[in-house]
């Protein structure tokens, strides 16, 4: 039996960065907001505190803050001819499942995606001609511009305490920053983190090779900080326990210590945790949504929560799943390329080298989420000519460490035995004296890479799992060859004692090991309802009172981490709802 609750102005599904931002902004605008979060309430003070947070086994290996695949997962296959099978445990990517979502366990890398992405098809067609883009590459313009998003990037950077060095303020190129970045109105709120030795060495080598290194912008507060909403940050301690962990110092910009507590103090806001949304309900004419149904997972009780506006703010993949389960919009069919919901799922790729320097102490455990240095010369640099290399997209290269904790990271030179005294000696010798250079690459949309509902497997609520069909295409392989070449060129110039060189990826995408929690697409934004699910305000073309906020809206994936535009788009959508939609409910863009 389902209990029908009283109607509220707004129901938010999922309370991470996007849900938190919208909850804060819309309650401040006077709207009554209820947020439904499937995970548990957790706090820095009680859950992410010392010493218990410093537990690699619990948080990295056993996924304590992540989605529980016993309850809900996806099925996976590399191509439509294969039978999809359930991802029985997490591996390749790690959606969060607590209040704060993946914003608790991210490492804080915050980028501004530019018009190189938002106008991707126009850009490449104009410069290289239509034929340069393969027929099955379904990239399209996003319908939004960098100039429109700039104030919202700024707002997110100041909310999340991003530390960095501007490379372009209002068109003036500044030494030490990223010279390729699009113009920003002002600098980052905080100066860059203190560089570690590995990033310094990478910086020098990249500069000597003629590239343009800069400190990676990151929501790790380089010094104590109070954000414009009054949220207090401690300074980063370079603890090395960043990605996969909550931050005990409140130095990592996260929704559970910024926007969410501010919303919680507002009497217009109510948070219901352990609340699993199973469906978005449509009006009889299918033009509006009327609310959602959800289950209290503590006791199995079912509820209907009517709402004037529904905001899907779960992890990107789960937003798409909910759209498919709710029958909103036409599901995408990769065979005839009709329909839109599920289209253009994208991921990321990369190539990585490990450099061994005998006797040089990097102290990899002294490391912030964003203490690496990066070059964008092969990424958002449009003067880099793709024609000779024949790929669309780009990659950034960085030097330093990711999660240098010992269960997962014990680099040894290729050919070292996997066990025994010789292995132990190599591990002892190289753990502190190795560093990593890593290329992170974009993945272009392809007609075969998509989501739909699985015909066989079901979740704990009896609903079909979502099926992911994905593999890398030859475009990504060609880019990988180029990226591995640049990584190895920089690495060799540093004269390491030994080098495990980068190689271009040739094998199919696999669900293990961990690669990147940067899954994009499925309910993409665009300029018209024929080839997109959402308009530029992330508003459903089908139901105008439904907004689907997150990386699910990205029509393709860049080489950058997605949280910058995810946060900016959440603020952008909040403004559109507050300032326009509430006054005159209806489509914000005419189809």
């Amino acid at each position: 039996m389902t209990t029908k609750l009283g109607e509220v102005d707004v129901v938010i599904v999922g309370l991470g960065w996007t849900g938190g931002i919208l909850a804060k902004e819309l309650t401040e605008a006077g709207l009554k907001v209820v947020a439904l979060e499937r995970g548990a309430p957790r706090s820095s003070e009680n859950d992410y505190s010392l010493p218990n947070i410093r537990d690699e086994l619990r948080y990295v290996v056993r996924h304590d803050l992540m989605q529980n695949t016993a309850r809900d997962t996806i099925t996976v296959r590399n191509n439509p001819k294969q039978e999809a099978l359930p991802m029985r445990r997490l591996g390749s990517f790690l959606p969060g499942e607590v209040v704060g979502g993946s914003g608790v366990h991210w490492s804080g890398h915050t980028w501004r995606w530019t018009d190189m992405e938002f106008k991707i098809r126009s850009n490449y067609e104009e410069r290289y001609g239509r034929k340069f883009i393969p027929d099955d590459m379904t990239i399209q313009d996003w319908g939004i511009t960098y100039a429109e998003l700039e104030p919202y990037y700024d707002k997110f950077e100041y909310t999340a305490a991003v530390s960095g060095k501007a490379g372009n303020i209002a068109g003036q190129i500044l030494a030490g920053g990223n010279p390729f970045e699009a113009p920003r109105v002002r600098d980052y709120p905080l100066p860059p983190l203190t560089p570690i030795l590995a990033s310094e060495m990478f910086t020098n080598a990249a500069r000597n090779a003629g590239y343009h290194p800069f400190p990676r912008p990151s929501a790790n507060a380089s010094q104590p900080y109070t954000n414009p909403d009054g949220a207090q940050f401690g300074g980063c301690q370079y603890c090395g326990y960043c990605q996969r962990f909550g931050c005990e110092a409140n130095a990592k910009g996260s929704p559970h210590m910024t926007v969410i507590p501010i919303a919680m103090r507002n009497p217009n806001f109510e948070l219901r945790t352990h609340s699993w949304v199973t469906k978005v309900l449509k009006d009889s004419d299918g033009k509006r949504v009327t609310g959602v149904t959800y289950t209290n997972v503590l006791n199995g009780e079912e509820f209907e929560q009517p709402a004037t506006i529904v905001l899907l703010c779960a992890y990107a993949i789960n937003n798409v799943h909910l759209m498919l389960l709710s029958g909103i919009g036409t599901p995408y069919d990769p065979v005839d390329q009709k329909g839109v919901v599920g289209k253009n799922y994208c991921y990321q790729t990369g190539a990585s080298a490990t450099l061994f320097f005998e006797g040089k102490y990097f102290n990899p455990f002294m490391n912030a989420g964003g203490s690496n240095a990066t070059i964008d010369d092969f990424n958002i640099n449009w003067t880099f000519d793709r024609a000779p290399h024949n790929f669309v997209g780009g990659y950034n290269v960085s030097g330093g460490f990711n999660t240098p904790l010992p269960i997962g990271y014990r680099p040894v030179p290729s050919g070292t035995p996997q066990w025994g005294s010789e292995w132990k000696r190599a591990t002892a010798k190289w753990y502190q004296t190795a560093m990593v250079i890593n290329a992170s690459g974009s993945v272009m949309a392809n007609r075969h890479n998509c989501f739909d509902l699985d015909p066989t497997y079901r979740n704990a609520f009896g609903q079909p799992l979502m099926r992911m069909t994905f593999d890398y295409q030859s475009n990504e392989h060609r880019m990988g060859v180029h990226a591995a070449g640049v990584v190895n060129e920089i690495a060799k110039s540093m004269n390491p004692t030994k080098l495990n060189p980068a190689t271009a990826r040739t094998e199919p995408w696999t669900v293990v090991p961990y690669q990147s929690t940067h899954n994009t697409g499925g309910t993409i934004m665009g300029t018209n309802p024929r080839d997109s699910v959402l308009n530029k305000y992330l508003q459903s073309w089908d139901c105008h009172n439904l907004f689907v906020v997150g990386a699910n809206a990205f029509p393709h994936n860049s080489s950058y981490n997605p949280t910058g535009p995810v946060g900016a788009l959440a603020y952008w959508t909040a403004d559109a709802i507050k300032n326009r939609y509430v006054k005159n409910p209806g489509p914000l863009v005419q189809a």
């Binding site: 090395g240 102290n363 132990k424």
Partner: protein, 242 residues
Amino acid sequence: MKDRGLDRRDFLKGAVVGSAAAAGGSAAIATAEVAQAEPPAQAAPAVAPQAAGYTFLNLDEAAFIEALVDHMVPADEISPSGTDLGINVYIDRALAGAWGKGDRLYMQGPWKQGSPSQGYQLPLTPAQLYRAGIEATNAHCRKTYGKSFDRIEAAQRQEVLVGLSTGKINFVGGPPVRVFWATLYQTVIEGMYSDPIYGGNRNKAGWAIIGFPGIIAVHRDHVEKYRGKPFPTKPLGISDMS
């Protein structure tokens, strides 16, 4: 337990059989026999118990794991042996606990083998996989060497581990070797490098191998101070600060 002749396992098995046949008097013999068969553990800087108590592993499995971790992590100038590090204890507790019982594992059928890119597809919890894999490995050892894994020579153990890690050994009718090996290997690493609260990495001797400081993690000033220099520290674990 490394004894090639009568070992603790033989004795304990015999004791059960014997106790059925002739109860009474066996307890005293047992005590004496154990004392004889089980020399005192080598002097390690350990607060560790002399023999591990197990909550999951049976006698054959315990003997297999002890032999495995001491082969993979031998005592040398770098660290104590795998059993002195408590890797066997870690594995036992992990298999007995939530992870071993399939926590967070999607366990609904239908079950298909799939391709390697689709990841874990066995209808087994990690503990069940472990059990089946040890049994299959021991069956291979008995067939090839006439003895179980814990009683063969070091060179033969090496041959078995190479066979498991490269997939040259094939478990007919059992779980895929590569899946068993990946699980086995990962748990040995976990027992070596996870926080000592989980039973392995005893005295933080795993962390000491690589100079990992454990949970000491306030490095704001250290980044400059120790740039390019070794960080002198005695590692600390969670219980040291609790």
